[in-house]
C-alpha cells in the first residue's frame, strides 16, 4: 500500500469495483479497499438482476449465473396470481447470480486493469484539510495507515460511514429501510423458471416475500419488511420467514442464512463533497419498490469513475465540479427512476390487503405480453381511483414514454 493514489475507493461491492475499474481503465492510480476478508461474503442479497441491463456492464460469465428465468409470478393476499413475462418484469428478474463469485469477479476485473485491491482493510475516518477530503485513515491487519488521494469514492454500502464523516447525513430512518432475512433452501419442489413474489400485510408488512430459483432445486427464499412497520414486540423478518417457509416449503432444508438491510429512502439530498463522491447503497441509490440495487450501484460506479477522471484531469475536484460531472448525471438517470419508485412505494405501503386483492383481480386479465406502463395504469384505475390519483405524477411519465416510442 502506497501513501498516495489518484483515487481511493472504499468498499468492494458492485459499486466500488466498477468505480475502481472505470477509473483505472482511464489510467488513474487507484486503490480499492474492502474491510472484510472475503469480497462478496457473507452475501446480503437475493441475487436477482435484469439480464439486458447487466449486459451493458459486463460480459456474462456462466460461473456466476445460477438461474436464467422466464418471468415472475406475483401473488396477492388472497392468492390471486399475476404472471409477468420477463421483458416487462422490470429490475428483479432475468438472472439469479452467485454474488460471492460475481462480486469477486468484478474486483478482479478492476485489478486486471491496474487497480490495487486490499482486503481486510477498513476505512476508519477521512483526512479532511481546508474543507477538502484528502484521503482516509485505514486499518489493515490491526495496523493504521494514512492514505491520501485526490478523490475518495465512498462505496461502503448500507452501513455507510464515509458520507457521514464528510458531513453528509446518510442515516436511514425506519421508514427508509427494508430489513431482510433470507434462507437458501434445498430439497424442496421449486419452479426453476419463475420467481415468485408474495405481497400483503399478513405475509410481509410494507414489503414482500420472494422466491428466487438458484438452480439444482435450490432457491433464495427471503423477506423484506419496512422498518417503520417493525417494533420491539412485533415479529421480526426472520419470524415471518419461518412462518412462510413452514406453509410453502415445509420440507425444505436451510443451507444458508442471509440477513440485511436495503435502503428504500429514494434519492438523498447530496452525494458529493469537495474531493468525495458516494455511490451505490452508500448513496441510497437502490430502488424503493423492489429493493434492487446491484445495477444502480454499477451505473453509479461507472459514472463516478468517469467523473473522477474528468475532475482530476481538469485539476478541479471541488464539490461544484463533482456536481457537474457526477451528481447531475446520476440524478438524471438512476435518480429519476428512484424518485418515481418512491412515489409508488409511499402509495403502496398504505394499501390494505383488500386493496391489494382488488388490484390483483383487475390486473389478472391484462394482456401482459404487450403491457406498457399506460396499460398498467389503466388497469389500476379500474381497481382503485384513489390510487391512480396518488400516482398521477407517474402518468405524465408514462405519457412521455408513449410519445417517445411513437417517434
Amino acid at each position: 500500500m502506497k501513501d498516495r493514489y489518484d483515487v481511493l475507493v472504499i468498499g468492494a461491492g458492485p459499486a466500488g469495483s466498477i468505480a475502481a475499474k472505470t477509473a483505472a481503465e482511464k489510467g488513474l492510480d487507484v486503490l480499492l479497499i474492502e474491510k472484510r476478508q472475503e469480497i462478496g461474503d457473507p452475501v446480503r442479497c437475493a441475487e436477482g438482476v435484469n439480464k439486458e441491463y447487466l449486459k451493458k456492464h459486463v460480459e456474462i460469465d456462466k460461473q456466476w449465473i445460477c438461474a436464467d428465468l422466464k418471468g415472475s409470478y406475483i401473488f396477492s393476499p388472497d392468492g390471486t396470481r399475476i404472471e409477468m413475462a420477463e421483458e416487462i418484469s422490470g429490475g428483479e428478474v432475468g438472472y439469479v447470480l452467485e454474488r460471492k463469485v460475481f462480486d469477486r469477479a468484478l474486483a478482479e476485473q478492476a485489478a486486471a486493469v491496474g487497480a490495487e485491491v486490499r482486503v481486510k482493510t477498513r476505512a476508519t475516518g477521512l483526512i479532511i484539510e481546508d474543507d477538502f477530503v484528502k484521503g482516509a485513515r485505514l486499518m489493515h491487519l490491526g495496523k493504521e495507515y494514512e492514505v491520501r488521494a485526490s478523490i475518495v469514492i465512498g462505496a461502503d454500502g448500507v452501513e455507510s460511514k464515509v458520507g457521514r464523516w464528510a458531513g453528509i447525513d446518510t442515516a436511514l430512518k425506519p421508514i427508509d429501510i427494508e430489513t431482510c432475512a433470507q434462507y437458501l433452501i434445498a430439497g424442496a419442489d421449486v419452479n426453476q423458471e419463475y420467481c415468485e413474489f408474495y405481497i400483503g400485510n399478513e405475509v410481509a408488512p410494507g414489503g414482500y416475500v420472494w422466491v428466487f430459483p438458484k438452480g439444482e432445486g435450490k432457491a433464495n427464499v427471503g423477506i423484506g419488511i419496512l422498518g417503520s412497520k417493525m417494533g420491539k414486540f412485533k415479529p421480526r423478518p426472520v419470524d415471518y420467514l419461518n412462518d412462510f417457509l413452514q406453509k410453502r416449503f415445509p420440507d425444505a432444508r436451510i443451507v444458508e442464512m442471509v440477513f440485511g438491510g436495503v435502503p428504500v429512502s429514494g434519492s438523498i439530498e447530496k452525494t458529493s463533497a469537495n474531493g468525495l463522491m458516494l455511490v451505490g447503497d452508500a448513496a441510497r441509490q437502490s430502488d424503493p419498490i423492489t429493493g434492487g440495487g446491484i445495477l444502480n450501484a454499477m451505473d453509479a460506479g461507472k459514472l463516478a469513475g468517469e467523473a473522477a477522471y474528468a475532475a482530476i484531469s481538469a485539476g478541479d475536484v471541488s464539490l461544484g465540479k463533482l456536481e457537474e460531472e457526477y451528481e447531475k448525471k446520476w440524478r438524471a438517470t438512476v435518480g429519476h427512476e428512484i424518485d418515481m419508485s418512491l412515489i409508488v412505494k409511499n402509495c403502496f405501503i398504505n394499501l390494505t390487503d383488500a386493496d391489494l386483492d382488488s388490484l390483483a383481480h383487475s390486473l389478472k386479465d391484462v394482456k401482459f405480453e404487450r403491457m406498457s406502463l399506460l396499460d398498467l395504469l389503466q388497469a389500476l384505475f379500474k381497481a382503485n381511483k384513489k390510487l391512480l390519483w396518488d400516482l398521477r405524477v407517474l402518468f405524465k411519465d408514462a405519457a412521455k414514454e408513449v410519445i417517445k416510442n411513437r417517434t
Binding site: 452501513e159 431482510c180 422498518g227 420491539k232 440485511g260
Partner: protein
Amino acid sequence: MSININRYKCGYCGACVGVCPKGALELVETWIEVDESVCIVCGICDRICPVGAIEVMK
C-alpha cells in the same frame, strides 16, 4: 443504559449500523462494536434488527 448484542444470534448484516442516527455502531467482520459515549439510547437499532440480536435498555 446498556446495549446488549447477542453475538450468537447476530447475522452481521450491518442494518443497525445504517440506521443509527449517531454513528455509534460499527461492524467489523462478524462483530458489532458500540461506542457508548455517543449512543443516545434511541432504540432504533433494536427496532430494525431482522433477528432481534440487539437489545437497548434504558
